[in-house]
């Protein structure tokens, strides 16, 4: 079975060329509905491969099985995709990285790290619209047929199939890299950006939010770089072309056009819909141990809602876990600030107590521990905390 020549030609994409961007580059007529390609074609093979990944994803313990949140995101994606809505299946995945992807078979993944980072519904729509753009233009199939990307795709297929030493990757990372590994070309990214803006505007979302997504990502990138973190491996999107700066500028310029009726940002609704998952997503973000990125993210979140006690607490956690020279002080400041804010979790008192104790301020530490026990008397570490208070533990 080895080394069969790559399937030649394949005329099954006759309409792909017809669809696409016309005179006004933001006037996007959608291609007609897609049907399943021939099983024996290269595209059919790609679909089968993605079907397999989708089966895996459906059983994954990382799938966020919250119908309300799923329906909310699905509804946004559906409105963006218009007639193509029935072809799509949205999966929310609990993994703390910025990523969304749409496979040629209609499987769309939205990672929790993306959900956490988007400030409003319009920003999420911008990313989803971009991915739908790749899907509608069948970019992955184009890439598959491009000789230059074929060898790297082979490696990725091999990795996902477990034959090329990719075993160290988790299933999710695999799928993510798999999608990223199709490594859309520069022009494809530009096209997807244009389509994304067109779709979000048509759906009533403020297009200016699209450029902001890239601006935010760039800030985190700079934060990571400044912190000496390994930026190349940290985010698939940082490695993509064209550069984020260009995309930010082009998208910002696009937003200045006249987009009648496209004004919705939906910040409040977005926040409310995510509220239930926010502590978990923030916890995952901190456990990633990419402190430079997390700090930029948290500062941005605090800028838009300065009384957010959850974020303020986790900002303190970043400093506590990073534990560099001077971080203890910064952690203490963050925790103290969180005390007067909204929705501050009880754990802030435990962390505050821990840091105070290490700083030698045992009287105030004990008060913090007391408060933690008052708020969470059944905590799994209640005995330990009590022992600190009673002083039996030095």
């Amino acid at each position: 079975m080895r080394r069969r020549p790559f399937l030649l030609g394949c005329g099954c994409l006759a309409f792909a060329a017809a669809a696409g961007l016309r005179a006004d580059e933001y006037d996007y007529p959608m291609p007609p509905r897609f049907t399943r390609p021939e099983a024996g074609s290269d595209e059919g093979g790609l679909w089968a491969f993605m079907d397999r990944e989708e089966q895996r994803l459906k059983r994954s313990s990382f799938l966020i099985r919250d119908k309300a949140l799923h329906d909310y995101v699905n509804d946004i994606a559906c409105r963006l995709a218009g007639d193509h809505c029935p072809e799509m299946r949205v999966y929310l995945v609990r993994t703390p990285y910025f990523n969304a992807s749409m496979a040629p078979n209609g499987m769309m993944q939205v990672w929790s790290g993306l959900l956490l980072r988007m400030q409003n519904e319009a920003q999420l729509a911008a990313v989803l619209g971009h991915e739908i753009g790749h899907y509608l233009q069948r970019h992955s199939v184009e890439r598959l047929r491009d000789a230059k990307s074929r060898s790297s795709f082979a490696m990725i297929v091999g990795m996902a199939l477990g034959v090329a030493g990719g075993g160290s990757l988790g299933a999710l990372a695999q799928t993510g890299i798999l999608m990223g590994g199709l490594a859309y070309g520069r022009d494809q990214e530009r096209e997807a950006d244009r389509i994304g803006v067109a779709l979000m505007a048509k759906t009533g979302y403020a297009p200016a939010e699209a450029g902001r997504v890239w601006g935010q990502l760039l800030e985190e990138y700079e934060g990571a770089k400044a912190a000496g973190e390994d930026v190349a491996s940290s985010n698939i999107l940082f490695a993509s072309h064209p550069p984020a700066e260009e995309r930010r500028e082009v998208l910002a310029a696009a937003a200045k056009r006249d987009w009648p009726g496209a004004a919705r940002t939906g910040a409040d609704e977005y926040r409310a819909r995510l509220a239930q998952h926010r502590m978990g997503f923030l916890h995952d973000e901190v456990r990633r141990r990419r402190f430079g990125e997390s700090l930029v993210l948290f500062e941005r979140m605090l800028k838009s809602s300065p009384r957010d006690g959850q974020v303020q607490f986790f900002k303190g956690e970043v400093y506590r876990l990073r534990a560099r020279e001077g971080d203890a002080r910064l952690a203490l400041d963050a925790y103290r600030n969180a005390l007067g804010m909204d929705n501050t979790p009880p754990e802030v008192h435990r962390s505050l107590g821990t840091m105070l104790r290490q700083a030698g301020d045992s009287a105030e530490a004990m008060r913090a521990f007391q408060r933690y026990l008052e708020l969470k008397p059944d905590a799994e570490d209640a005995e330990l905390i009590r022992s600190y208070i009673s002083g039996s533990q030095s």
């Binding site: 079975m1 080895r2 080394r3 069969r4 790559f6 399937l7 099983a39 024996g40 290269d42 059919g44 093979g45 790609l46 089968a48 491969f49 079907d51 397999r52 089966q55 895996r56 059983r59 074929r150 060898s151 795709f153 082979a154 297929v157 091999g158 996902a160 199939l161 477990g162 034959v163 090329a164 075993g167």
Partner: protein, 228 residues
Amino acid sequence: MIFGMRRALLGVLLLLCAGLAAAQPNLAPGFTRLAPNSTIALMPADVELFEISAGGVGEPRADWTAAAAKNIMADLRARSAKLGARATEVTGDHDDVVEGLNGLHGAVARAIVVHHFGGLKLPTKDGKLDWTLGPDVAKLREKSGADYALFTWVRDSYASAERKAMIVVGALFGVGMSGGVQQAYASLVDLRTGQVVWFNRIVRGTGDLREAEPAAETLTALLTGFPL
């Protein structure tokens, strides 16, 4: 769990470690055969069938698994009737006792395969088949009235239409892929003590549990030496 243990085990068993066990490797010390007139509870088979598309891990197939479980249980029923053994069935869907013990059996069986039949012998076991499911099996005894329970643990994988598409995709890029392996463990457990009194396992590249006839062949191989 050692990384990649399941597959690794196959390699170990097939390549190196077959036939290294002691004289009566399949029987617990002091046990020779079932007492006359004893009743055996047939535990629901812990079976999972996979499509081999995932290169070594496979994707579980619920329909195949259901067919295999049905075939295995039907064969065990027919077999015990033919041998004149007294068998009773334990049904276990959403039963914590049955599911819990079946899960534990999987772990015990793998320990036996690695540490008794495999190369990683445990010095404290002194070469003896000395494993137990513990006193919780009393609950099975109450449930079934049986003296022993027969546990089966089966994992099998097959090529599929999807697999074939994958082989095409793989071949397009010069990625070669291999076929599936059938792995099955059976334990006879004394419901008074929890002791595994007889154990057998097969590891091979043939067989098909999705169809009744080849499934019976698998069980014949798996139950070879059953101490009746």
